[in-house]
Symmetry: C2
Subunit: 337 residues, 2 copies
DNA sequence: CAAATATATGGTACGCGTACCATTAAGTGG
DNA sequence: CCACTTAATGGTACGCGTACCATATATTTG
């Protein structure tokens, strides 16, 4: 396999000149550049990025650590990240934590060994020690989707409080009073924020919050099933459901269907995070849509900026909150009807 | 940042001994190992995988090059790959080609520079030159989902012919005669195979094939929409649709719904590739389900085996065809009714 | 026109592990 | 007890680019 020295010899220049051509750095006469490129092509030279990274201490690599690439919300975030990173010559490692702390730390250790330039992290807990550890290792970090406590770090996430507030407000406006909230894991800011938005809407309407109607659990179909099952046993039954994410909603809807309940005739449903439009035929759900693709883009841009201009490192720690869009569809209706 | 030499000094051994401890290679006395591990921990030593890979010419890295991580079929494949690779200490780069040849070759070039040990490739065309190029560079290659021509390379894919045959056979058994096939890109083996299965079922039933009912196009929602639109203008209208993948079906169904047609009362629909169960509420589609997760697993296992035992390199080139499962649901019904 | 700056190229010495070979001590079989 | 393998450890020299410094000519500036 040809090396930079082989190319240099063939082009009649020094190795460093070839390096300059390959990296578009320093001064090279156009004629010299041509000769070098010709020699490289003739030898089928493939730059060795390992050697390059090893010496220059830049890997041009990011990592995206997320709960589960199987969730359409995260695939869309991933595309946003990849498109931005790719445009700047960065490659991206994707890592699924399954919300499992052991997996997360195993991945992060591997990423540090690989000397990735930066990590986009949706942390498994909102405890800041993991992030702290990364920062100590001099790796760029941007936290996505979630907020961690007691630590200054760039964060990009959707407006969970606002989205939840608007969804629940919509239900209240339709006359619903018994509204169950099926949120995510209790130790995540997203879950807490979505309940906070729920509470805010109820409070504002002068309604009291029934704690037994508010549950935390996994962001999974099973969790949605289980909790819906429990809710259906209640009397009086809630007239509306606020699902903390798309998978919880999917589980809940399945159970309702099996129980012979219709949406929205029997129970109204609102949900955080869209299921990509074409997948769901009936019923189309009333949702709070997070700009997932933009979230990935913004986070990646921020991270790359930090990597490319470490000078501005400490200037400002941002906490970008992207607006969510409420789309009223067919899963909600007035309780009066 | 601590190096292997720092650790060696602190543990009172030679650098190479530290290397042996870190890699579990060669002989090390348990007592020595302990001392080294202690020293490494005290110094917060993080092995430099760049240096390791650079010298040992092994990066412990794979790449998964696929059309679009947004499609649930591919996310599931990706999970299969990641789980197998991760268990063996490999990290995976994901690359979306969007079925675009330029993107594909850009990614492959980047992967070669990075000296990945192997590539799992769903090639954009079934032309073998790309694969040939990779093999010349001494990179492990396993082609997934598709078959390339004129080249000996390991391949793992679903049984497109068999799946299509069974789906269309099912329609024929229900009395359908006017069956439209909406296949994928004409230059992909999957698309061709699915049409081949379609043709086989028709032939076997003694029916003639109306070429105007068979179309090729992108594996996208838009393509499904457009082609369905055209079909609805036909008289007589086809009584059944065979969609080449889930996205094409989604597009087609949307158009049908907009035109006020019901499934399966007005038109029966069968489709290749499932939409993950929880997403689709009504109607549940009759599908040929490929074992996507297993496909990823099997392909990754095969690739890792080739990487770990290059000796057996040329022994046998496999073409694994995984069985697909036909699930009859509510989108098909007898034409007699 | 001297001084300063931009342009163009090269030499040397790394970086941080590991391949390769060498060495010594301990165990083993005949 | 000797030849031979196994266990345990170390020394040296890389790998393949690039950081850093040096050099030399061309161009600009005051």
């Amino acid at each position: 396999m040809a090396t930079i020295r082989d190319v240099a010899k063939r082009a009649g220049v020094a190795p460093i000149t070839v390096s300059r051509v390959m990296n578009n750095s320093g001064y090279v006469k156009p004629e010299t550049r041509r000769r070098v490129e010709e020699a490289a092509a003739e030898l089928h030279y493939v730059p060795n990025m390992l050697a390059h990274s090893f010496r220059s201490k830049r890997t041009n690599t990011l990592a995206l650590v997320l709960p589960d690439i199987t969730n359409p919300f995260w695939t869309t975030v991933a595309r946003g990240v990849e498109d931005v990173a790719g445009a700047q010559g960065f490659s991206v490692f994707f890592c699924n934590t399954d919300e499992n702390e052991t997996k997360q730390s195993r991945y992060l250790a591997a990423l540090l060994r690989r000397r990735v330039d930066g990590v986009l992290l949706a942390p498994v807990t909102n405890d800041g020690t993991t992030v702290q550890m990364l920062l100590r290792q001099n790796v760029g970090v941007v936290v996505i989707d979630r907020k961690v406590k007691n630590i200054e770090v760039d964060t990009v996430r959707g407006d969970s409080i606002g989205g939840a507030y608007q969804l629940v407000r919509h239900l209240i406006d339709l006359g619903h009073r018994q509204i169950a909230a099926l949120s995510g894991p209790a130790n995540l800011s997203v879950s807490q924020d979505r309940v906070a938005g729920y509470a805010q809407a109820l409070n504002e309407a002068g309604l009291t919050i029934d704690p037994s109607l508010v549950t935390f659990g996994d962001f999974t179909i099973e969790s949605g099933r289980d909790r819906m099952q429990a809710l259906l046993a209640r009397r009086p039954r809630p007239t509306a459901i606020f699902a903390g994410n798309n998978f919880i909603a999917a589980g809940a809807l399945t159970v309702m269907r099996e129980a012979g309940l219709r949406t929205p005739e029997d129970i109204s449903v609102v949900v955080f995070d869209d299921l990509p439009d074409p997948y769901v035929f009936e019923p189309k759900l009333t949702v709070a849509v997070q700009p997932a693709y933009e979230l990935g883009q913004v986070a990646a841009q921020r991270l790359l900026q930090k990597i490319n201009h470490p000078a501005t490192k400490m200037n400002d720690v941002c906490d970008v909150i992207l607006p969510v869009q409420i789309i009223i569809r067919q899963s909600t209706r007035s309780i009066m009807t």
